[in-house]
Every structure is written in C-alpha cells, then in structure tokens.
C-alpha cells in the first residue's frame, strides 16, 4: 500500500476541502471506525497562490472547532518573525504536502503490521541489557547514581553512609565507561554498575559488538588505568580492575 503524495497546488477554482472537524471524533475506542471509511483523512491543501504560513493556519483554525479566533493574520505574521531568525527574508514556505487518501481497503493493513509488532514485542524491543526501558524514566545518568549510594534505601541516615558501592572508589559520578573495539571507529558506552564479574562483562561486550560465541579467544579485553597505562584485564582481580579502570578496549589477540 503506497502512500501517495501530491505537491502541486490546486489551480482555482478550489477543490472543496474536507473539513477536519474535531467534534466528530466522539469516541476513540476503535480506530477501525476511522480507518475503514474511505475519506478519513483530510486534504490539507493550501488556498490559492499565496503559500505563506498565514494561509495554513487560517485553514486549520477555520476548519477546526477550536475557539481561537485570532488565528488569521496578525498572530501568524508575528509567529513567522519569531520562528525565523536566520531565514532568508523571502520566506517562501513550500506548499503543504497533502495526503491523498489511501484506498478503500477495509481495516487498513498498512499501519497495522508495524503497530502490531510494536504492541506484541514492546517488552522485547525496549528493554536493554537488563537496564530497563531505554531512555525511561527520563532521568539523567548521574541522578541514577544517587540511589546506588544509599544502602537499605537510606535507613542508616545517622551513620556515615557508604560512598563506595560495587564500583569501589570511582570518584566520577557516572557508572558508564567508554569501550572501543579495535577496528571499529565508534566508541560505545557500558554501564559498569550492572556487572559483577569478568564473565558478565565479556558477555555484554560480545553482544554489543556482535562477536560470535564461536571465537571468544580472538579478542582480549584491555583497560586504561588512572595513570594512563594500558593493562590486560585478565591479569588483575575484579575489584582492582573496577577501581582503577578509566576506559576499555577490545583488541585482537595475536599469535
């Protein structure tokens, strides 16, 4: 099912515009009620000749049931100043793309497959290495760390709270370290606080860089410590590793 896009402006006389009456959408329970009727999408065309922003909003406000009557002229002109600090002064807004309706297929299939996929696998798509939903909740990285600092959810307020957690003496507020793989230009970041052993860390790294399980020995994990030296991760115990590492690099082992 192809979406058709038209660009050309209708020559006068105007084709009657389907008004997009928000009042008519009384219930939102079934999308099929909207989709199965052929003309469910508006033709949001522009008026004649003059394509500036004024007309777009004029149409929208006249066809919607909103009570904003100041839509038209002055309001829109002012807005276009605000919105265009560096625009060319000719301000030629291109014609609005309008949608032709999709064909009379009952129960539109075009938007369903991706949505079904979305709903069925929502839990799979969005979880990320056991860290929960990616990007949710919208808390900046260093705020997440505050929780880690509190043993027993803060019940021991009267004692000196432990500054150390599993990350040891890492002074930096972020539990993410950079990981580079030899031959790959883009560095990644990995959250150390969810790993507690070399095995777990290696597994995550293999997944992240797409290294197959068949060749675990090909790559060696190295890290740069606080003094700037590069060391082999396998040579040190986990706690030492965690305490002193600044960033990681996977290198191909030779020989």
């Amino acid at each position: 099912m192809e979406l058709q896009l038209g660009l050309a402006l209708p020559p006068p006389p105007l084709i009657p515009i389907e008004t997009f009456d928000l009042n008519s959408y009384g219930n939102y329970e079934t999308r099929e009620a909207l989709g199965s009727n052929a003309l469910s999408w508006p033709l949001l065309k522009l008026g004649p000749a003059d394509n500036d922003i004024n007309n777009i909003h004029h149409h929208n406000s006249s066809s919607s049931s909103s009570s904003s009557s100041s839509g038209g002229g002055a309001g829109c002109k002012k807005r276009s100043f605000d919105e265009a600090p560096f625009f060319d002064e000719k301000r030629n807004v291109p014609k609005t793309l309008h949608l032709l309706l999709w064909t009379n297929q009952p129960n539109d299939e075009d938007d369903d497959p991706s949505n079904v996929l979305h709903e069925n696998s929502s839990s799979a798509i969005f979880k990320n290495d056991g860290e929960g939903l990616v990007g949710w909740p919208p808390v900046k990285t260093w705020r997440k760390k505050v929780h880690h600092q509190i043993p027993n959810g803060g019940a021991e307020n009267n004692r000196l709270p432990k500054v150390e957690n599993g990350i040891g003496g890492r002074a930096s507020k972020s539990t993410y370290v950079k990981v580079k793989m030899e031959g790959v230009p883009i560095a990644r970041k990995i959250d150390l606080s969810v790993h507690h052993s070399f095995e777990g860390l290696t597994n995550t790294l293999m997944r992240m860089f797409g290294i197959s399980d068949g060749n675990p020995k090909i790559f060696k994990l190295t890290y740069q410590d606080r003094e700037g030296d590069w060391l082999l991760a396998e040579d040190v115990p986990w706690r030492t590793f965690i305490r002193s590492l600044k960033c990681l690099k996977l290198i191909r082992s030779r020989g």
Binding site: L3, Y28, V146, N157, L160
Partner: protein, 586 residues
C-alpha cells in the same frame, strides 16, 4: 507641501535606538521591517542565539553579523540527556570556534549546551579570544582538564566558568593552578561535575581567596566537608554556594566551624550540592535558611523528619529541588511554609525500583499547587496519578509555564478510575494558557492530543512517551500548536501520515525527534526529497537503511530545519534523507 518620510533618521540614531533592544526576538523582528533596518541591525547586533548548531553555518552567521560579542549554541537534541542519542552523533563546536577565531576577536561570551567540545577547541578559545569573560559548557563532553588548564592560563578576563553537568575527563586536578597569581576577576565558578579526587584543593583555596568578586561557587563532590568552612571564610560575599560531599563523622569543631562560616555569609541565597548528606550536619545552615531563595537537595539522601524540618525553615524559597524522600507530608509542609515558591522539582530516589520506596503520590503535588499561588514550573516524578488530581492542580495553578509529569510506570492509568489520563492533562492545557513546556506520561489516548492541539497555543516544547494510538494524535499537535518549536517523541505508535500531512509545519519548528515510533523509511525518504530545507536524519545502529524495506520503521528520526543544508560530519549510523539518497537507492 513637503513630503516627510519616517525613514529619514540618520543611521546612527537608529543604531542607538536598536541598542536598547536586547531580546533576540525583538531584534529579529526589527531586522525584517525593511532593508535599511536589516543592514543597520546586523552591524550592531552583539548577541546571537543558535538553538540548533546545524540550522545555520558559522560562515553564514559571520557574514550577516560582523561584530558579535556573545554567542549561545546548542547541539544535540534534548533526549541525548537520557542516552537516546548514540555517541558520535555530532554537535562539534570546533568548526564554530575556528571560524569565529578570525571573525570575532572581541568575543566575550561563549555558552554551549550539549555540544562536543575538545581540548583543541578550548585551546583555540584561549588563544583567540583574549577578552573572553564568560564560558558556559552545559551538558557538554569531549574535553579534559587539559583544555580547562588552557582556559585558565589564557583567559585573563574570565569572570564566569560554568561546567554544569558536563562530562570531563579528569586527567589532573592541577588545572586550577594555571590561573595566574595575578588573576583576580573570577565571579562565578561551577565545577560540580568534576570527578577527579585531586582537584587541587590548595589551588582552589588560593583562587577563592584572591577573587573578591566571587559570588557563585559550586564545588564538586570530592571536596570534603571539613574543608568547606575554610573556603567559605575566604568568600563571605558568596550569593550562591554548592557544597561537596556533605557527609563526615560528627565532630564538634568541624560542626561549629561550619556553622560560623555559614553564618558569616550574609548574602547567601542559594545552596546546592549536599551529596551523601547526613542529617547531623544540616543544622549548620539554619542561619542561612530564612534568606534562601533556592535550595537544591536533589543529591541528598535525607529523609523525613530531618528533611521536612529543614524545609520548614525556608520561608523565602522560590526554587526547590528535592528527592522524593520528601514525601507527601513534606510537600504539605512546603506548601504551608513557602508561599513564594515558583519552581518545584521532585526527583525519584529509586527510578528503577519495581515497588514504591517512599510515600510520594499525587497528593503532594496537589498540596503544593494549592498552597503556593506563584507556582509556575513543575517537574514531578511519582508513581500514581489521577485525573481528578490533575484537574485540581490545573485549577489551582493557571499560571503554569512549565509542567512536566513523569509517572515511572510508562502506561499507568488513573489509579482511581482506571481511565486514561487524557482529561487530567487536558485540564492542564485548558487552564494554563501560558504553558510553554509540557511533558506527558501515563496512559494516554489520542484524546489528550486533541486537547493539546485545541488549547496549548503558547506551547513551545512537548515531550511525549508511550502515548497515543494513531496518527491523529500527532496530527492534532502539529496542526494545532501554533507556537510549537520542539517536539520529542519516543515509543509511540504513529508516524507517517501525520508527518506527511504536516510537513510544512516542520519548517516552522526547530526540531522533531521521534524514536521507536512507526515512521517508515519510505516516509522519511519522501520528506527528504520534498522538503529541501529540512534535514531528515535517520539513525540506525543496526545497518544502513537501504538494506531494509521501505515500510520498515526507522529506529530514530531527527528532523530539523536548516539553511545550511545537510551536514557532513555524521557518523556511519546516521543518514540524511535528501534527493541524492532517495534517488540513488530507489
């Protein structure tokens, strides 16, 4: 009869008039009146704001404005704060610094947000702008303390150095030593993001001691509590102070020194820091509390009753940032004590926990909305909400300019009626006519977007996640929100139709971000072909888009208007959809 024209003012007079116009928006308006005003204005413009560093090129800016003294640039989209923008996406400041180095030798102020700043850039800044007074690096990354050392050594007129929320590679704490002994002009220093545990404290002490105009000092976590008293005694003129770690064993000498030091800071109005805070040391700030207008306890694991007791002593508070340990009971105390409160932010102490660990619900926010008539700006993380509460809040606070509600469980319904929260958020946009920023959460249908499109006429920024059911939702917003500049959407089931039907609207906005939605590659290509003044960037770390079908949804989409054309500094996982892309791969 002599014809008089209104435009017979000599240029110098107009220029003088323009010098009173500070706001960027007003300047832009003035420049559009006529050609001569445009010319005069551009020569005397001193300050510019570029909300998206890729919307325009440095060359274009320099060509139009030959004598800029203050620049503000923003790079990555806002969702970069939540790790949604992969590393290497872009936002490099070096091209700007390089061009400006030659064009604006008298540059005084550089403010950057979410940009990649390298040591090389900082070294170039220090070398090129000898008159630099303000350097603000807000949520930036890519530089180390070596770059800071160059700034310290080279910028003799620096007044303000603010690294808020930036990620800095700490190579050595000795960068502070690079401020020469003759340097005394520091007014504001924010190093709260630095991690190194060898920020040379003695260098900091000396610096603070020799800068009599220092008004704002935000320390990093590593500065121990027992050093604070000494530092404060060298800077009793401070207006804003951020502690380091606020935990130590209780010792009476440390305690009394601290109390005395705080007491002597007669102008202190704003406090922050308080990492790892223990209740034992809280009373040392009581002498300051009555004057405090801003208090940031959002890193302090303090709980009630200590937390509530502290809050109750701050009647002048205008701005309060706190963890959800404050609970509903603490917020009720806040509501009755702090009648001047304008901004409240409540952060989650356990954002990933399955079960609530504190008793913070919608009731706390309702209490504050009822008790604090000047409340304008809210950021509230909690685990339950009801439409009734939101309606009450909206009716109590018609003056909201920013309302961001984050329900930790993304699709949670009204806990009392099990209905979607459409009506509640609808009340917010209907009553709060000046609302400029809104973040939605909870179970939401297309309905809420209809309300938003209908009422939120001043809305400039909208953040949406896990909401809506169809493209109607997006269409309502794009067609109804006249003032919309930034729209960011994650995990919502819409895309193509609404985008294509409202393509022209996108040129009136700064940017649109959509990730994990249902925007197909085909739609992106179409937009790219038809809208030459939009950059349509598709991000996908799994592989190039041409390897997949047209109907496949793209992982991440970032659309922004630009007069500079597509950018060329993209990493391999970002593709610009333009005419070339569409034609060579179709």
């Amino acid at each position: 009869m002599q014809k008089k024209t209104a435009y017979s003012f000599p240029d110098e007079i107009l220029e003088h008039v323009f010098s009173f116009i500070q706001s960027v928006k007003d300047r832009n308006a003035a420049s559009l009146v006529c050609k001569s005003w445009y010319e005069i204005e551009r020569w005397c413009r001193r300050k510019i704001f570029v909300g998206n560093c890729y919307a325009v090129s440095p060359t274009m800016v320099i060509r139009r404005f030959p004598d800029i003294r203050s620049i503000e640039l923003k790079g990555k989209p806002h969702f970069a704060d939540f790790n949604l923008v992969p590393d290497g996406w872009g936002g490099y400041v070096l091209p700007w610094i390089s061009k400006m180095a030659g064009a604006y030798p008298w540059l005084e102020e550089i403010r950057l947000k979410r940009m990649v700043v390298t040591d090389e850039s900082l070294e170039l800044v220090a070398k090129s702008f000898t008159n630099l007074q303000v350097l603000v690096l807000f949520s930036c990354e890519g530089f180390s303390t070596d770059g800071l050392a160059a700034i310290a050594a080279g910028c003799k007129n620096l007044r303000e150095l603010d690294l808020r929320d930036s990620e800095v590679d700490d190579l050595s704490g000795h960068w502070l030593n690079h401020f020469p002994d003759t340097y005394t002009s520091l007014v504001s220093l924010n190093i709260s993001c630095l991690g190194s545990d060898d920020v040379s404290f003695s260098a900091l002490e000396r610096l603070v001691g020799r800068c009599p105009n220092l008004r704002r000092l935000l320390l990093n976590r590593e500065v121990p509590l027992d050093k604070i008293a000494n530092l404060l005694s060298r800077a009793p003129q401070l207006i804003e102070f951020g502690t380091g770690t606020y935990a130590a064993e209780l010792r009476s000498d440390v305690y009394s020194n601290l109390a005395e030091a705080f007491c002597n800071c007669k102008e202190l109005k704003s406090l922050s820091g308080f990492w790892d805070a223990v209740p034992a040391y809280l009373p040392v700030i009581y002498s300051v509390c009555s004057r405090l207008t801003s208090l940031n306890l959002s890193y302090a694991p303090i709980q009630n009753p200590d937390l509530t007791k502290l809050v109750s002593q701050c009647p002048s508070l205008q701005r309060m940032l706190v963890l959800d340990y404050i609970e509903d009971s603490g917020l009720e105390v806040l509501a009755s004590s702090c009648k001047d409160l304008q901004e409240l932010r409540v952060f989650p102490s356990d954002p990933f926990g399955e079960e609530p660990n504190v008793s913070l619900t919608e009731k706390g926010l309702v209490a504050v909305s009822s008790g604090c008539p000047k409340l304008q700006s809210v950021l509230y993380f909690c685990r339950q909400m009801s439409n009734a509460a939101l309606v009450t809040i909206a009716q109590n606070c018609p003056n909201f300019t920013r309302f961001r509600l984050c329900l930790l469980d993304p699709k949670i319904a009204d806990y009392r009626t099990l209905q979607p929260l459409d009506v509640g958020f609808g009340a917010i946009v209907e009553h709060c006519k000046d609302l400029r920023r809104l973040s939605l959460s909870g179970l939401l249908t297309d309905c809420v977007f209809e309300y938003i499109g209908m009422h939120a006429k001043k809305l400039e920024m909208l953040s949406v996640a896990f909401a809506g059911e169809s493209d109607l939702a997006l269409h309502h917003v794009l067609s109804g929100c006249e003032s919309l500049r930034k729209l960011e959407i994650m995990n919502c089931p819409f895309g193509d139709k609404a985008l294509l039907a409202n393509a022209a609207k996108l040129e009136t906005m700064r940017s649109l971000w959509m990730s994990s939605c249902s925007v197909s590659l085909g739609a992106c290509k179409m937009l790219g072909q038809k809208m030459p003044r939009l950059n349509i960037e598709v991000m996908d770390e799994k592989g190039p888009p041409d390897s997949r079908a047209e109907s496949d949804p793209v992982d991440k989409l970032y659309i922004y208007r630009s007069v500079a054309g597509p950018r060329f500094d993209m990493p391999p996982f970002v593709w610009t959809m333009d005419e070339d892309f569409a034609s060579e791969l179709s």
